[in-house]
Symmetry: C2
Subunit: 203 residues, 2 copies
DNA sequence: GTCTATAGTGGGATAGAC
DNA sequence: GTCTATCCCACTATAGAC
């Protein structure tokens, strides 16, 4: 019942203050944006004084940075794992879509914050996150390219173009998905697989 | 009367200070985010003192509000116009995709700001913008639904689901499109039409 | 590990001259 | 329509007691 979101209520109760801090930060960053979220609000949500935060973190930017790293590691791991046991190229594409959508929506606030607040990081840290993101996108592209080479995906566009179109189709979901809405992450993954692979025209 | 209907290409050179102010604001809002952009920066970019801004606007939020209204009016008008002369349901879907992509990318910063900074508006103004957005989305949905009714689009998903999938595919483009990149807005519209209508699987 | 208190900076907006 | 000068507030982060 209270088990919505990626991390169960039970885990949250046992979480260290540092972990609760990160959970609260990601919630507020997604709700209001990084720049508009104040350390005062984060402290209030946790029921501690502002100064106490700085025992756990060095700066507000630390929170954003760790959120971005975790987000990309999580989705990269989830997708790698989902396709690792499969050999059929089209099966791998479908498993990738499913894992991407389910992982992204299970940890929706974290992924959304990573995808939209990159610009708020310092140059150095932003470059690090962009590299992690590029590595993940390379994985996606290679799975699509293998399917093209196997002759089961359209070759009228480059693998890069197929990757851009696929990530377009999947990622925008974070802006309108609601955990208690009509469509589950699995429903959405199914819809996107149909649309991406089969198209919607019926003549 | 003298101001009426000034939408020409030479508009920028003759733009009033109020118009230049809005142009500069949208550039900065998209680059750094609304909350992270200061009125000091906007004034500096225009080469005026901070206080001078307040002759033209009542508050910083005014700028965001007017940007959002313009953005939605522009894309709604562009798409309405593009489909108005067409009767074939599939032609209308294709023209809608083309007009949405070209309009969105021609005015990229404005649309991107509207789509990502809605949460920074006051409750009242946000509700107004959400309604404008809903009206545009209804137009998109009705075009898709007519094509379903005509038997030329897949009926395995609701018109609402087809709409969500289509806007996903198109809108995320604002995050990676670069005006001087390899792909023109027309190229991208073509790619998205192929992917959305025909799918990418080839068995 | 959390507290009280505050330093130090930068923010949006206004008053009134020209 | 733009200027100089300034108010007042909110922000991040730190110092040092407990």
């Amino acid at each position: 019942m209270a088990d919505n979101g990626a991390e169960s209520g039970a885990r949250r109760d046992r979480a260290t203050t540092a972990e609760k801090l990160k959970d609260e930060a990601v919630r507020l960053f997604w709700e209001k944006g990084y720049a508009a979220t104040t350390t005062r609000e984060i402290a209030e949500s946790l029921g501690v004084q502002r100064a106490s935060l700085y025992y756990h973190i060095k700066s507000k930017e630390d929170l954003l940075y760790f959120i971005c790293v975790e987000s990309l590691n999580n989705i990269h791991t989830a997708v790698s794992k989902a396709i690792s046991a499969l050999t059929d190229p089209l099966d791998r594409v479908e498993a990738m879509i499913e894992a991407h959508v389910v992982s992204m929506l299970a940890d929706r606030e974290k992924h959304a914050t990573m995808l939209t607040e990159l610009r708020s990081l310092s140059d150095l840290r932003r470059a690090e996150i962009v590299q992690l993101r590029d590595e993940y996108e390379s994985l996606v592209r290679s799975v699509l390219e293998e399917a093209q080479d196997a002759g089961v995906l359209w070759k009228g566009a480059s693998a890069k173009e197929l990757e851009l179109a696929l990530l377009n189709l999947l990622n925008w979901t974070i802006f309108w998905y609601r955990p208690n809405g009509e469509l589950s992450p699995e429903d959405l993954a199914g819809l996107f697989k149909e649309v991406y692979l089969g198209g919607v025209a019926r003549t």
